[in-house]
């Protein structure tokens, strides 16, 4: 019998419809993979086998009657940032100890109403703050990829490291993730998977633990461009509970897959060529350009002069919003409480013990830049720079560019507990240098696996699109996938 966990969502959708196997068989196959692998990879922080089997049985009943939604019977993993009713929802933070919401996020509600099956909750950086999944209260997630001939543990990227590892190691068919500065695309690139951050406003943020509200967006991580299109179609919706969700029809993304890119104008921004960037990243980029040219796209050099300011502006805007959003963790309404001699000391003790170092760092930066006398010098200036970053993109679109091609990350996955990266927080932040511009401008961006480096580790290319034009990203992304092929880590776990 074929290994059901090796199927794509598109394959499994057909197989389930044809009754080649049941959703219960599919679900059990993933549950047994999780059981065998999770002690080593640490991708799941909570597995929900009973719930998964109940949902799978309900899907099988619908499928038997020839009914069912777009994701009927498909087993998925859910990032711990999404509220799931009665199930572990702690943003992988100590401060949300034992929190189980009485409500369900809009994105997961959409997935369940389309028939998807929940396998459990996925590990992540605490409050989605990190680029290596090493800030989780539940420990590091390990990348299923290793360098050729090495047994060193590598990070899966972050913050959606659990989502990326779970997909790459076949512990779910697809996963939900979120992206504030690159948290979907960077881990996807580090694990040879596809990840898309849609346009700000495409998915409802209701029921997703807030980090930086003007930047946060949900999106999927999956094996193929087509699978990510299937998942995003279900996740996206306009929602009265999130006033920033936008009332624009969600197109049938799958319909554009396989469509020719002939005549599409692809912009190549010179400013993404960094000093000291590894030659392999530049080579990968050139390969991507050649593939798209061969497919009939028109390649055009563009200039985006404010690119280098996106990351410093982000490290004002994101911590400022985080310091405000995280004010709610006070030891009163939910989660951890550490007593003190009075209420203020109780707050201070709770937040000192409940937050990890990276979260504290960002809350303090955010509090500082918003404090009296500093607002104009930091926050207001950063928001003005943000206007200029968006203007760079607007100019490209006005000049007829349909999508922009860049590398997804400045390097391949690095080692767990890398001393240099841990000694200097700014070095770790540089991981997001190519992805963060997209959040600052609210645009859609997809990372597609494009090759392996000299050590055999996956690398990704990023495509950036016009607002609400995720469809073009899927269309062009498929061309890259067709040219590059797919990448599977060699199994050493489980």
């Amino acid at each position: 019998m074929t290994d059901l966990t090796k199927l794509t969502i598109a394959d499994a959708r057909e197989g389930l419809k044809n009754k080649d196997y049941s959703s219960l068989e599919l679900t059990d196959a993933f549950l047994s993979n999780i059981e065998a692998a999770n002690a080593q990879l640490n991708a799941y922080v909570a597995v929900t086998p009973d719930k998964a089997r109940d949902m799978a049985k309900a899907s099988d009943e619908k499928l038997a009657k020839g009914e069912g939604g777009a994701l009927e019977g498909i087993p998925l993993g859910i990032k711990d940032l999404f509220a799931t009713k009665g199930v572990h929802t702690q943003a992988c933070s100590h401060i949300l100890d034992s929190f189980k919401p009485a409500y369900e996020s809009t994105v997961t509600t959409n997935l369940w109403s389309d028939g998807a099956v929940m396998l459990g909750k996925l590990n992540m950086d605490e409050f989605a703050m990190g680029s290596s999944n090493e800030t989780s209260y539940y420990g590091d997630v390990i990348n299923p990829w290793r360098k050729t001939g090495s047994n060193q543990d590598l990070v899966p990227g972050g913050s959606s490291g659990g989502s990326a590892t779970a997909v790459a190691a076949r512990l779910c068919m697809g996963a939900t993730a979120t992206d504030t500065g690159g948290s979907i695309r960077q881990p996807a690139a580090f694990t040879g998977t596809v990840g898309i951050k849609p346009t700000y406003g495409r998915c409802s943020r209701w029921g997703i633990v807030a980090f930086a509200s003007s930047l946060d967006q949900a999106g999927p991580i999956a094996h193929t461009v087509r699978d990510s299109a299937i998942l995003l179609k279900s996740m996206a919706s306009v929602d009265p509970k999130d006033t920033t969700s936008v009332d624009i029809e969600v197109p049938d993304y799958e319909a554009v897959i396989g469509k020719s890119v002939k005549g599409l104008k692809i912009g190549i921004p010179a400013e993404y060529r960094l000093d000291g960037m590894p030659a392999e990243i530049e080579d990968l980029w050139q390969k991507g350009i050649a593939w798209l040219k061969d497919a009939g796209a028109e390649i055009t050099e563009i200039s985006m002069p404010h690119t280098k300011y996106a990351l410093p502006a982000y490290y004002i805007v994101a911590p400022a919003e985080a310091s405000s959003n995280l004010a709610r963790y006070d030891g009163v309404r939910y989660g951890l409480r550490v007593p003190g001699k009075d209420i203020v000391e109780m707050y201070e003790n709770t937040r000192a013990e409940g937050f990890g170092d990276e979260v504290k760092r960002r809350v303090l930066i955010g509090t500082y830049v918003l404090s009296a006398g500093y607002y104009d010098a930091y926050y207001l200036k950063a928001q003005k720079v943000r206007t200029l970053i968006k203007r760079d993109f607007d100019l490209a679109w006005q000049n007829g560019v349909d999508a922009i091609l860049t590398p997804a990350t400045p390097s391949a996955a690095f080692g767990v507990a890398d001393q240099e990266l841990h000694a200097d927080p700014v070095k770790m932040y540089l991981n997001d240098i190519f992805t963060v511009t997209v959040n600052m401008a609210g645009l859609p961006g997809i990372s597609v696996p494009a090759g392996l480096d000299k050590d055999g580790l996956p690398l990704g290319l990023q495509l950036i699109g016009k607002p609400f034009d995720e469809a073009t990203l899927f269309q062009v992304g498929q061309v890259i996938e067709d040219a590059a092929g797919s990448f599977e880590p060699q199994k050493w776990w489980g």
């Binding site: 009485a102 406003g201 707050y347 303090l364 200097d424």
Partner: protein, 95 residues
């Protein structure tokens, strides 16, 4: 701009996070590294540039000012570390 350890302690107090002397010293260095990094923004000419308030141009959606939800005090206090009769319990704040 850079911060000293006293400023870090003051900011930590504002953020309601208890920090030890050692924490404050370590964090001073880390925060200064970040503040040094964001100083690059001083190179950008922002004269006459409007600050971004929303990435998507849309009028703020409004809804009817009506009651659409409620009567779930039990749900709201469900996850509280201490509660009684659907009230949150906190240390005494008024003498």
């Amino acid at each position: 701009m850079s911060v000293d350890t006293e400023t870090v302690k003051r900011v930590a107090r504002l953020a309601r996070i208890k920090v030890s002397e050692d924490d404050a010293t370590r964090m001073t260095g880390e925060l200064n590294a970040i503040l040094g990094f964001v100083e690059q923004l001083d190179e950008v000419n922002i004269d006459g540039v409007e600050p971004m308030t929303s990435v998507v141009e849309q009028t703020m959606k409004k809804r009817v000012d009506g009651i659409t939800d409620g009567n779930k005090a039990g749900d709201i206090t469900l996850n509280a570390p201490a509660s009684e009769d659907n009230f949150f319990m906190v240390p005494k704040v008024v003498e």
